[in-house]
Symmetry: C2
Subunit: 274 residues, 2 copies
Protein backbone atom coordinates (compact mmCIF):
# COMPACT_ATOMS: atom_id res chain seq x y z
CA UNK A 1 0.00 0.00 0.00
CA UNK A 2 1.29 3.46 -0.88
CA UNK A 3 1.37 5.86 2.10
CA UNK A 4 -0.86 8.93 1.86
CA UNK A 5 1.97 11.46 1.84
CA UNK A 6 5.69 11.25 1.21
CA UNK A 7 8.06 14.23 1.38
CA UNK A 8 10.96 12.35 -0.26
CA UNK A 9 12.25 13.75 -3.57
CA UNK A 10 11.59 12.42 -7.06
CA UNK A 11 14.73 11.50 -9.01
CA UNK A 12 15.10 12.71 -12.59
CA UNK A 13 18.01 11.90 -14.83
CA UNK A 14 19.49 12.66 -18.20
CA UNK A 15 22.82 12.06 -19.93
CA UNK A 16 23.55 15.77 -19.54
CA UNK A 17 21.60 19.02 -19.47
CA UNK A 18 18.82 18.18 -21.95
CA UNK A 19 16.57 16.72 -19.24
CA UNK A 20 16.39 20.15 -17.62
CA UNK A 21 13.61 20.97 -20.13
CA UNK A 22 11.63 18.16 -18.45
CA UNK A 23 12.62 19.27 -14.93
CA UNK A 24 11.39 22.76 -15.79
CA UNK A 25 7.95 21.39 -16.76
CA UNK A 26 7.75 19.19 -13.64
CA UNK A 27 8.73 21.90 -11.12
CA UNK A 28 6.12 24.27 -12.59
CA UNK A 29 3.38 21.65 -12.49
CA UNK A 30 4.20 20.23 -9.02
CA UNK A 31 5.23 23.12 -6.75
CA UNK A 32 5.25 20.97 -3.56
CA UNK A 33 7.46 18.16 -4.88
CA UNK A 34 11.22 18.03 -4.32
CA UNK A 35 13.49 16.83 -7.12
CA UNK A 36 17.05 15.52 -7.41
CA UNK A 37 18.34 15.94 -10.96
CA UNK A 38 21.32 13.83 -12.04
CA UNK A 39 23.17 14.77 -15.26
CA UNK A 40 25.74 12.15 -16.30
CA UNK A 41 27.86 14.96 -17.71
CA UNK A 42 31.12 12.97 -17.71
CA UNK A 43 29.62 10.42 -20.10
CA UNK A 44 27.31 12.57 -22.25
CA UNK A 45 26.21 11.90 -25.00
CA UNK A 46 24.31 8.62 -24.58
CA UNK A 47 22.76 8.85 -28.07
CA UNK A 48 25.86 7.56 -29.86
CA UNK A 49 26.44 4.65 -27.47
CA UNK A 50 25.30 1.04 -27.70
CA UNK A 51 22.26 -0.47 -25.95
CA UNK A 52 24.52 -2.46 -23.62
CA UNK A 53 26.49 0.58 -22.51
CA UNK A 54 23.44 2.85 -22.09
CA UNK A 55 21.64 0.21 -20.00
CA UNK A 56 24.69 -0.23 -17.75
CA UNK A 57 25.06 3.54 -17.28
CA UNK A 58 21.32 3.95 -16.55
CA UNK A 59 21.43 1.33 -13.79
CA UNK A 60 24.46 3.04 -12.20
CA UNK A 61 22.65 6.40 -12.27
CA UNK A 62 19.47 4.88 -10.79
CA UNK A 63 21.47 3.25 -7.96
CA UNK A 64 23.00 6.62 -7.08
CA UNK A 65 19.55 8.26 -6.93
CA UNK A 66 18.07 5.34 -4.96
CA UNK A 67 20.84 5.73 -2.36
CA UNK A 68 19.63 9.34 -1.98
CA UNK A 69 16.15 8.02 -1.10
CA UNK A 70 14.05 9.00 -4.12
CA UNK A 71 10.42 7.84 -4.10
CA UNK A 72 10.17 7.60 -7.90
CA UNK A 73 12.37 7.99 -10.98
CA UNK A 74 11.78 10.01 -14.16
CA UNK A 75 14.07 8.98 -17.04
CA UNK A 76 14.20 12.34 -18.84
CA UNK A 77 16.65 11.04 -21.45
CA UNK A 78 15.02 9.57 -24.56
CA UNK A 79 17.99 7.31 -25.29
CA UNK A 80 17.98 5.87 -21.75
CA UNK A 81 14.18 5.52 -21.92
CA UNK A 82 14.41 3.73 -25.25
CA UNK A 83 17.23 1.38 -24.29
CA UNK A 84 17.13 1.08 -20.51
CA UNK A 85 13.55 1.48 -19.26
CA UNK A 86 12.70 -2.24 -19.09
CA UNK A 87 15.90 -3.02 -17.17
CA UNK A 88 15.36 -0.03 -14.87
CA UNK A 89 11.79 -1.14 -14.03
CA UNK A 90 13.07 -4.60 -13.09
CA UNK A 91 15.98 -3.15 -11.12
CA UNK A 92 14.32 -0.31 -9.17
CA UNK A 93 12.04 -0.78 -6.13
CA UNK A 94 10.28 2.53 -6.97
CA UNK A 95 8.05 3.51 -9.93
CA UNK A 96 9.96 4.50 -13.09
CA UNK A 97 8.56 6.86 -15.77
CA UNK A 98 10.09 7.27 -19.22
CA UNK A 99 9.61 9.98 -21.86
CA UNK A 100 8.80 7.73 -24.83
CA UNK A 101 5.29 6.57 -23.89
CA UNK A 102 3.96 10.07 -22.99
CA UNK A 103 5.29 11.56 -26.22
CA UNK A 104 3.75 8.75 -28.26
CA UNK A 105 0.36 9.26 -26.64
CA UNK A 106 0.30 12.96 -27.59
CA UNK A 107 1.54 12.26 -31.13
CA UNK A 108 -1.01 9.47 -31.66
CA UNK A 109 -3.78 11.85 -30.59
CA UNK A 110 -2.58 14.62 -32.91
CA UNK A 111 -2.11 12.27 -35.84
CA UNK A 112 -5.78 11.37 -35.94
CA UNK A 113 -7.01 14.99 -36.04
CA UNK A 114 -7.02 14.98 -39.85
CA UNK A 115 -8.49 11.46 -40.04
CA UNK A 116 -6.82 8.05 -39.60
CA UNK A 117 -4.39 6.58 -40.45
CA UNK A 118 -2.11 9.42 -39.33
CA UNK A 119 1.53 9.89 -40.24
CA UNK A 120 4.01 10.54 -37.42
CA UNK A 121 7.67 11.50 -37.75
CA UNK A 122 10.17 10.79 -34.99
CA UNK A 123 13.50 12.62 -34.81
CA UNK A 124 15.93 11.34 -32.20
CA UNK A 125 19.50 10.25 -31.55
CA UNK A 126 20.99 7.40 -33.54
CA UNK A 127 20.64 4.96 -30.59
CA UNK A 128 17.01 5.86 -29.91
CA UNK A 129 16.13 5.36 -33.59
CA UNK A 130 18.01 2.06 -33.70
CA UNK A 131 16.08 0.83 -30.63
CA UNK A 132 12.76 0.97 -32.47
CA UNK A 133 11.10 2.12 -29.22
CA UNK A 134 8.99 4.89 -30.79
CA UNK A 135 7.49 2.82 -33.64
CA UNK A 136 6.85 0.04 -31.12
CA UNK A 137 4.93 2.24 -28.66
CA UNK A 138 3.03 4.08 -31.41
CA UNK A 139 1.97 0.72 -32.89
CA UNK A 140 0.69 -0.38 -29.49
CA UNK A 141 -1.45 2.78 -29.30
CA UNK A 142 -2.74 2.47 -32.87
CA UNK A 143 -1.25 0.01 -35.35
CA UNK A 144 -2.57 2.07 -38.29
CA UNK A 145 -0.22 4.99 -37.54
CA UNK A 146 2.52 5.27 -40.16
CA UNK A 147 5.86 6.08 -38.48
CA UNK A 148 8.95 7.59 -40.13
CA UNK A 149 12.07 7.79 -37.93
CA UNK A 150 15.19 9.85 -38.55
CA UNK A 151 18.44 10.17 -36.57
CA UNK A 152 19.74 13.75 -36.17
CA UNK A 153 23.17 13.18 -34.57
CA UNK A 154 24.44 16.76 -34.85
CA UNK A 155 21.52 18.43 -33.04
CA UNK A 156 22.80 17.56 -29.52
CA UNK A 157 26.31 19.03 -30.01
CA UNK A 158 24.79 22.16 -31.60
CA UNK A 159 22.55 22.72 -28.56
CA UNK A 160 25.27 21.82 -26.04
CA UNK A 161 27.52 24.44 -27.68
CA UNK A 162 24.81 27.09 -27.86
CA UNK A 163 24.47 27.19 -31.67
CA UNK A 164 20.73 27.82 -32.03
CA UNK A 165 19.87 30.65 -34.44
CA UNK A 166 22.92 30.70 -36.75
CA UNK A 167 22.63 30.25 -40.57
CA UNK A 168 24.84 27.14 -40.25
CA UNK A 169 22.29 25.63 -37.85
CA UNK A 170 19.50 26.27 -40.36
CA UNK A 171 21.56 24.57 -43.10
CA UNK A 172 22.27 21.54 -40.90
CA UNK A 173 18.64 21.27 -39.75
CA UNK A 174 17.38 21.61 -43.34
CA UNK A 175 19.77 19.03 -44.76
CA UNK A 176 19.20 16.61 -41.88
CA UNK A 177 15.39 16.84 -42.04
CA UNK A 178 15.19 16.80 -45.87
CA UNK A 179 14.23 13.07 -46.01
CA UNK A 180 11.03 13.96 -44.11
CA UNK A 181 9.81 16.78 -46.42
CA UNK A 182 7.95 14.42 -48.78
CA UNK A 183 6.44 12.30 -46.00
CA UNK A 184 3.23 14.36 -45.47
CA UNK A 185 3.56 14.12 -41.69
CA UNK A 186 0.72 15.14 -39.39
CA UNK A 187 2.89 15.28 -36.29
CA UNK A 188 6.58 14.98 -35.48
CA UNK A 189 7.97 13.92 -32.08
CA UNK A 190 11.05 15.80 -30.83
CA UNK A 191 12.46 12.52 -29.50
CA UNK A 192 15.42 13.96 -27.61
CA UNK A 193 15.28 16.36 -24.66
CA UNK A 194 17.76 18.69 -26.39
CA UNK A 195 15.64 19.22 -29.51
CA UNK A 196 13.03 21.61 -28.01
CA UNK A 197 15.84 24.19 -27.89
CA UNK A 198 15.91 24.05 -31.73
CA UNK A 199 12.10 24.03 -31.98
CA UNK A 200 11.71 27.31 -33.86
CA UNK A 201 14.28 26.34 -36.54
CA UNK A 202 12.72 22.88 -36.84
CA UNK A 203 9.21 24.35 -37.05
CA UNK A 204 10.25 26.77 -39.83
CA UNK A 205 11.97 23.94 -41.70
CA UNK A 206 9.04 21.50 -41.49
CA UNK A 207 6.31 24.12 -42.10
CA UNK A 208 3.02 24.82 -40.30
CA UNK A 209 1.36 21.59 -41.45
CA UNK A 210 3.51 19.45 -39.16
CA UNK A 211 2.62 19.66 -35.44
CA UNK A 212 5.69 19.29 -33.21
CA UNK A 213 5.45 17.19 -30.04
CA UNK A 214 7.67 18.17 -27.10
CA UNK A 215 7.35 15.35 -24.55
CA UNK A 216 7.98 17.39 -21.40
CA UNK A 217 4.34 18.49 -20.95
CA UNK A 218 3.18 14.91 -21.54
CA UNK A 219 5.66 13.61 -18.94
CA UNK A 220 4.29 16.07 -16.39
CA UNK A 221 0.79 14.76 -17.14
CA UNK A 222 1.96 11.18 -16.58
CA UNK A 223 3.66 12.07 -13.31
CA UNK A 224 0.39 13.70 -12.24
CA UNK A 225 -1.36 10.37 -12.78
CA UNK A 226 1.30 8.50 -10.76
CA UNK A 227 1.18 10.92 -7.81
CA UNK A 228 -1.52 9.86 -5.41
CA UNK A 229 -1.67 6.39 -6.92
CA UNK A 230 1.68 4.62 -7.19
CA UNK A 231 3.72 7.52 -5.77
CA UNK A 232 2.52 9.34 -2.63
CA UNK A 233 2.56 13.13 -3.09
CA UNK A 234 4.44 15.54 -0.83
CA UNK A 235 2.36 17.04 1.99
CA UNK A 236 0.70 20.22 0.64
CA UNK A 237 2.73 23.33 1.44
CA UNK A 238 6.04 21.44 1.68
CA UNK A 239 9.04 23.70 1.12
CA UNK A 240 10.36 22.16 -2.04
CA UNK A 241 14.04 21.24 -2.37
CA UNK A 242 15.92 21.06 -5.68
CA UNK A 243 19.31 19.37 -5.87
CA UNK A 244 21.61 18.71 -8.80
CA UNK A 245 24.16 15.92 -9.13
CA UNK A 246 26.69 15.82 -11.97
CA UNK A 247 29.40 13.29 -12.84
CA UNK A 248 31.88 15.87 -14.16
CA UNK A 249 32.86 19.18 -12.54
CA UNK A 250 29.93 21.53 -12.08
CA UNK A 251 31.15 24.71 -13.84
CA UNK A 252 30.08 23.87 -17.39
CA UNK A 253 26.85 22.31 -16.14
CA UNK A 254 25.84 25.54 -14.45
CA UNK A 255 26.80 27.54 -17.55
CA UNK A 256 24.75 25.33 -19.89
CA UNK A 257 21.89 24.91 -17.40
CA UNK A 258 21.35 28.67 -17.50
CA UNK A 259 20.18 28.33 -21.09
CA UNK A 260 17.51 25.84 -19.95
CA UNK A 261 16.23 26.91 -16.52
CA UNK A 262 18.08 30.05 -15.47
CA UNK A 263 20.50 30.40 -12.57
CA UNK A 264 21.46 27.32 -10.53
CA UNK A 265 22.92 28.06 -7.09
CA UNK A 266 26.48 26.83 -6.48
CA UNK A 267 25.72 25.03 -3.22
CA UNK A 268 22.96 22.96 -4.83
CA UNK A 269 25.26 21.28 -7.36
CA UNK A 270 27.33 18.31 -6.23
CA UNK A 271 29.80 16.17 -8.19
CA UNK A 272 29.31 12.42 -7.72
CA UNK A 273 31.33 9.42 -8.87
CA UNK A 274 29.27 6.53 -10.24
CA UNK B 1 69.31 -1.22 -19.58
CA UNK B 2 66.98 -1.47 -22.57
CA UNK B 3 67.19 -4.83 -24.36
CA UNK B 4 68.39 -4.75 -27.99
CA UNK B 5 65.15 -6.01 -29.52
CA UNK B 6 61.59 -6.29 -28.26
CA UNK B 7 58.69 -7.71 -30.30
CA UNK B 8 56.02 -6.46 -27.88
CA UNK B 9 53.47 -4.00 -29.25
CA UNK B 10 53.34 -0.25 -28.71
CA UNK B 11 50.11 1.00 -27.14
CA UNK B 12 48.38 4.00 -28.66
CA UNK B 13 45.23 5.58 -27.34
CA UNK B 14 42.65 8.20 -28.06
CA UNK B 15 39.22 9.13 -26.72
CA UNK B 16 37.72 7.76 -29.94
CA UNK B 17 38.70 7.44 -33.58
CA UNK B 18 40.71 10.66 -34.01
CA UNK B 19 43.98 9.01 -32.95
CA UNK B 20 43.77 6.76 -35.98
CA UNK B 21 45.35 9.64 -37.97
CA UNK B 22 48.38 9.17 -35.70
CA UNK B 23 48.27 5.37 -35.92
CA UNK B 24 48.24 5.71 -39.71
CA UNK B 25 51.44 7.80 -39.63
CA UNK B 26 53.14 5.39 -37.19
CA UNK B 27 52.33 2.18 -39.07
CA UNK B 28 53.65 3.67 -42.31
CA UNK B 29 56.86 4.87 -40.69
CA UNK B 30 57.55 1.70 -38.61
CA UNK B 31 56.56 -1.36 -40.69
CA UNK B 32 58.04 -3.88 -38.21
CA UNK B 33 56.34 -2.54 -35.08
CA UNK B 34 53.10 -3.99 -33.70
CA UNK B 35 50.46 -1.66 -32.27
CA UNK B 36 47.45 -1.98 -29.98
CA UNK B 37 45.07 0.93 -30.48
CA UNK B 38 42.56 1.68 -27.73
CA UNK B 39 39.64 4.03 -28.51
CA UNK B 40 37.64 4.96 -25.41
CA UNK B 41 34.53 5.13 -27.60
CA UNK B 42 32.05 4.77 -24.72
CA UNK B 43 33.35 7.96 -23.11
CA UNK B 44 34.26 10.07 -26.16
CA UNK B 45 34.60 13.08 -26.27
CA UNK B 46 37.29 13.91 -23.70
CA UNK B 47 37.60 17.52 -24.89
CA UNK B 48 34.54 18.72 -22.97
CA UNK B 49 35.46 16.98 -19.71
CA UNK B 50 37.35 18.30 -16.69
CA UNK B 51 41.06 17.74 -15.95
CA UNK B 52 40.21 15.44 -13.05
CA UNK B 53 37.96 13.20 -15.16
CA UNK B 54 40.32 13.07 -18.17
CA UNK B 55 43.28 12.15 -15.94
CA UNK B 56 41.29 9.35 -14.27
CA UNK B 57 40.15 7.98 -17.63
CA UNK B 58 43.69 8.15 -19.08
CA UNK B 59 45.10 6.10 -16.18
CA UNK B 60 42.37 3.46 -16.64
CA UNK B 61 43.15 3.22 -20.36
CA UNK B 62 46.90 2.97 -19.70
CA UNK B 63 46.35 0.17 -17.17
CA UNK B 64 44.35 -1.79 -19.72
CA UNK B 65 47.14 -1.44 -22.31
CA UNK B 66 49.86 -2.26 -19.75
CA UNK B 67 48.02 -5.49 -18.89
CA UNK B 68 48.34 -6.35 -22.60
CA UNK B 69 52.11 -6.01 -22.32
CA UNK B 70 52.86 -2.86 -24.31
CA UNK B 71 56.49 -1.70 -24.35
CA UNK B 72 55.61 1.99 -24.71
CA UNK B 73 52.58 4.25 -24.86
CA UNK B 74 51.62 6.95 -27.38
CA UNK B 75 48.91 9.30 -26.12
CA UNK B 76 47.38 10.22 -29.49
CA UNK B 77 44.67 12.35 -27.89
CA UNK B 78 45.58 16.02 -27.45
CA UNK B 79 43.21 16.47 -24.51
CA UNK B 80 44.66 13.46 -22.65
CA UNK B 81 48.20 14.65 -23.53
CA UNK B 82 47.42 18.12 -22.23
CA UNK B 83 45.73 17.04 -19.01
CA UNK B 84 47.05 13.57 -18.23
CA UNK B 85 50.61 13.21 -19.53
CA UNK B 86 52.38 14.09 -16.27
CA UNK B 87 50.24 11.65 -14.28
CA UNK B 88 50.69 8.95 -16.93
CA UNK B 89 54.47 9.31 -16.87
CA UNK B 90 54.49 8.87 -13.09
CA UNK B 91 52.05 5.96 -13.28
CA UNK B 92 53.45 3.92 -16.19
CA UNK B 93 56.59 1.74 -16.01
CA UNK B 94 57.11 2.22 -19.79
CA UNK B 95 58.00 5.36 -21.82
CA UNK B 96 55.02 7.62 -22.61
CA UNK B 97 54.88 9.96 -25.64
CA UNK B 98 52.33 12.73 -26.05
CA UNK B 99 51.27 14.74 -29.12
CA UNK B 100 51.69 18.24 -27.67
CA UNK B 101 55.50 18.49 -27.53
CA UNK B 102 56.10 17.20 -31.09
CA UNK B 103 53.50 19.59 -32.56
CA UNK B 104 55.00 22.52 -30.67
CA UNK B 105 58.49 21.72 -31.98
CA UNK B 106 57.30 21.80 -35.59
CA UNK B 107 55.27 24.98 -35.06
CA UNK B 108 58.16 26.73 -33.29
CA UNK B 109 60.41 25.90 -36.24
CA UNK B 110 57.92 27.17 -38.81
CA UNK B 111 57.17 30.33 -36.86
CA UNK B 112 60.75 31.54 -37.16
CA UNK B 113 60.92 31.13 -40.96
CA UNK B 114 59.76 34.72 -41.49
CA UNK B 115 61.94 36.06 -38.65
CA UNK B 116 61.43 35.97 -34.87
CA UNK B 117 59.30 36.48 -32.85
CA UNK B 118 56.83 34.26 -34.68
CA UNK B 119 53.11 34.10 -34.12
CA UNK B 120 51.53 30.67 -33.58
CA UNK B 121 47.82 29.84 -33.40
CA UNK B 122 46.55 26.79 -31.56
CA UNK B 123 43.08 25.38 -32.22
CA UNK B 124 41.98 22.59 -29.90
CA UNK B 125 39.17 21.32 -27.69
CA UNK B 126 37.92 23.47 -24.83
CA UNK B 127 39.75 21.31 -22.23
CA UNK B 128 43.06 21.39 -24.11
CA UNK B 129 42.89 25.18 -24.43
CA UNK B 130 41.97 25.55 -20.74
CA UNK B 131 44.99 23.43 -19.75
CA UNK B 132 47.45 25.95 -21.19
CA UNK B 133 49.66 23.05 -22.31
CA UNK B 134 50.41 24.43 -25.79
CA UNK B 135 51.45 27.97 -24.71
CA UNK B 136 53.53 26.37 -21.93
CA UNK B 137 55.47 24.05 -24.25
CA UNK B 138 55.90 26.70 -26.94
CA UNK B 139 57.28 29.10 -24.32
CA UNK B 140 59.78 26.45 -23.22
CA UNK B 141 60.99 26.13 -26.82
CA UNK B 142 61.16 29.89 -27.42
CA UNK B 143 59.65 32.39 -25.01
CA UNK B 144 59.45 35.02 -27.75
CA UNK B 145 56.78 33.10 -29.66
CA UNK B 146 53.40 34.80 -29.45
CA UNK B 147 50.64 32.20 -28.96
CA UNK B 148 46.91 32.64 -29.64
CA UNK B 149 44.67 29.74 -28.56
CA UNK B 150 41.09 29.08 -29.63
CA UNK B 151 38.64 26.33 -28.65
CA UNK B 152 36.65 24.83 -31.55
CA UNK B 153 34.14 22.58 -29.74
CA UNK B 154 31.97 21.72 -32.75
CA UNK B 155 34.78 20.38 -34.97
CA UNK B 156 34.90 16.95 -33.27
CA UNK B 157 31.16 16.18 -33.64
CA UNK B 158 31.27 17.37 -37.29
CA UNK B 159 34.12 14.96 -38.07
CA UNK B 160 32.63 12.09 -36.04
CA UNK B 161 29.40 12.48 -38.04
CA UNK B 162 31.15 12.75 -41.40
CA UNK B 163 30.27 16.41 -42.14
CA UNK B 164 33.44 17.55 -43.92
CA UNK B 165 32.78 19.41 -47.19
CA UNK B 166 29.26 20.80 -46.63
CA UNK B 167 28.47 24.57 -46.83
CA UNK B 168 27.33 24.40 -43.17
CA UNK B 169 30.78 23.12 -42.19
CA UNK B 170 32.43 26.04 -44.02
CA UNK B 171 30.13 28.49 -42.17
CA UNK B 172 30.90 26.91 -38.79
CA UNK B 173 34.64 26.79 -39.49
CA UNK B 174 34.62 30.43 -40.70
CA UNK B 175 32.66 31.74 -37.73
CA UNK B 176 34.68 29.70 -35.22
CA UNK B 177 38.07 30.77 -36.63
CA UNK B 178 37.09 34.43 -37.19
CA UNK B 179 38.87 35.64 -34.01
CA UNK B 180 42.18 34.45 -35.56
CA UNK B 181 41.86 36.30 -38.91
CA UNK B 182 43.45 39.51 -37.61
CA UNK B 183 46.22 37.74 -35.69
CA UNK B 184 48.81 37.60 -38.52
CA UNK B 185 49.71 34.00 -37.67
CA UNK B 186 52.76 32.32 -39.19
CA UNK B 187 51.68 28.82 -38.22
CA UNK B 188 48.63 27.20 -36.67
CA UNK B 189 48.64 23.90 -34.78
CA UNK B 190 45.73 21.53 -35.40
CA UNK B 191 45.68 20.66 -31.70
CA UNK B 192 43.17 17.81 -31.87
CA UNK B 193 43.59 14.55 -33.77
CA UNK B 194 40.19 15.03 -35.44
CA UNK B 195 41.05 18.36 -37.03
CA UNK B 196 43.31 17.09 -39.87
CA UNK B 197 40.10 15.68 -41.41
CA UNK B 198 38.89 19.31 -41.80
CA UNK B 199 42.32 20.49 -42.97
CA UNK B 200 41.29 21.65 -46.46
CA UNK B 201 38.35 23.74 -45.15
CA UNK B 202 40.57 25.18 -42.40
CA UNK B 203 43.35 25.94 -44.91
CA UNK B 204 40.93 27.76 -47.25
CA UNK B 205 39.50 29.70 -44.31
CA UNK B 206 42.88 30.80 -42.91
CA UNK B 207 44.52 31.46 -46.30
CA UNK B 208 47.91 30.43 -47.71
CA UNK B 209 49.91 32.66 -45.34
CA UNK B 210 49.19 30.42 -42.33
CA UNK B 211 51.07 27.11 -42.30
CA UNK B 212 49.03 24.33 -40.69
CA UNK B 213 50.75 21.88 -38.33
CA UNK B 214 49.36 18.33 -38.15
CA UNK B 215 51.14 16.65 -35.23
CA UNK B 216 51.01 13.06 -36.52
CA UNK B 217 54.21 13.30 -38.61
CA UNK B 218 56.00 14.95 -35.68
CA UNK B 219 54.86 12.17 -33.33
CA UNK B 220 56.27 9.56 -35.72
CA UNK B 221 59.59 11.44 -35.67
CA UNK B 222 59.60 11.42 -31.85
CA UNK B 223 58.82 7.71 -31.70
CA UNK B 224 61.72 7.13 -34.10
CA UNK B 225 64.01 8.85 -31.59
CA UNK B 226 62.67 6.70 -28.71
CA UNK B 227 63.07 3.41 -30.61
CA UNK B 228 66.57 2.06 -30.11
CA UNK B 229 67.09 4.31 -27.11
CA UNK B 230 64.40 4.12 -24.44
CA UNK B 231 62.23 1.62 -26.34
CA UNK B 232 63.83 -1.45 -27.98
CA UNK B 233 62.67 -1.87 -31.60
CA UNK B 234 61.02 -5.01 -32.96
CA UNK B 235 63.41 -7.48 -34.61
CA UNK B 236 63.71 -6.52 -38.31
CA UNK B 237 61.32 -8.49 -40.50
CA UNK B 238 58.82 -9.11 -37.65
CA UNK B 239 55.32 -9.85 -38.93
CA UNK B 240 53.53 -6.86 -37.51
CA UNK B 241 50.29 -7.26 -35.57
CA UNK B 242 47.60 -4.57 -35.29
CA UNK B 243 44.87 -4.86 -32.70
CA UNK B 244 42.02 -2.54 -31.77
CA UNK B 245 40.30 -2.23 -28.41
CA UNK B 246 37.14 -0.19 -27.93
CA UNK B 247 35.04 0.52 -24.85
CA UNK B 248 31.71 0.55 -26.70
CA UNK B 249 30.47 -1.97 -29.29
CA UNK B 250 32.68 -2.17 -32.35
CA UNK B 251 30.21 -1.52 -35.20
CA UNK B 252 30.32 2.27 -35.23
CA UNK B 253 34.09 2.25 -34.60
CA UNK B 254 34.69 0.20 -37.72
CA UNK B 255 32.36 2.43 -39.74
CA UNK B 256 34.09 5.64 -38.62
CA UNK B 257 37.58 4.10 -38.75
CA UNK B 258 37.08 3.49 -42.47
CA UNK B 259 37.15 7.24 -43.02
CA UNK B 260 40.59 7.39 -41.35
CA UNK B 261 42.53 4.25 -42.25
CA UNK B 262 40.34 2.08 -44.49
CA UNK B 263 38.91 -1.32 -43.64
CA UNK B 264 39.46 -2.80 -40.16
CA UNK B 265 38.98 -6.57 -39.93
CA UNK B 266 36.21 -7.77 -37.59
CA UNK B 267 38.36 -10.23 -35.68
CA UNK B 268 40.94 -7.57 -34.80
CA UNK B 269 38.48 -5.39 -32.86
CA UNK B 270 37.67 -6.31 -29.28
CA UNK B 271 35.37 -4.62 -26.78
CA UNK B 272 36.90 -4.08 -23.33
CA UNK B 273 35.45 -2.83 -20.05
CA UNK B 274 37.66 -0.38 -18.17
Amino acid sequence: MTPMEDARPIGIFDSGVGGLTVLDALTKRFPDESFIYLGDTARVPYGTKSARTVERYAIQVADCLLRRGVKGLVVACNTASALGLAALRVHCPVPVLGVIEPGCRVAAGLSTLRGAPGRVGVIATRSTVASGAYPHHLAMLDPRIHVVSLACPLFVPLVEEGWVEHPAVRLIVEETLAPLFSQHLDAMILGCTHYPVLKSVIARTMGPEVMLVDSSAAVAEDLGRYLGHVIAPAPPGTTRRLEFLVTDVADRFKETAQRFIGNVDDELVEMVDL
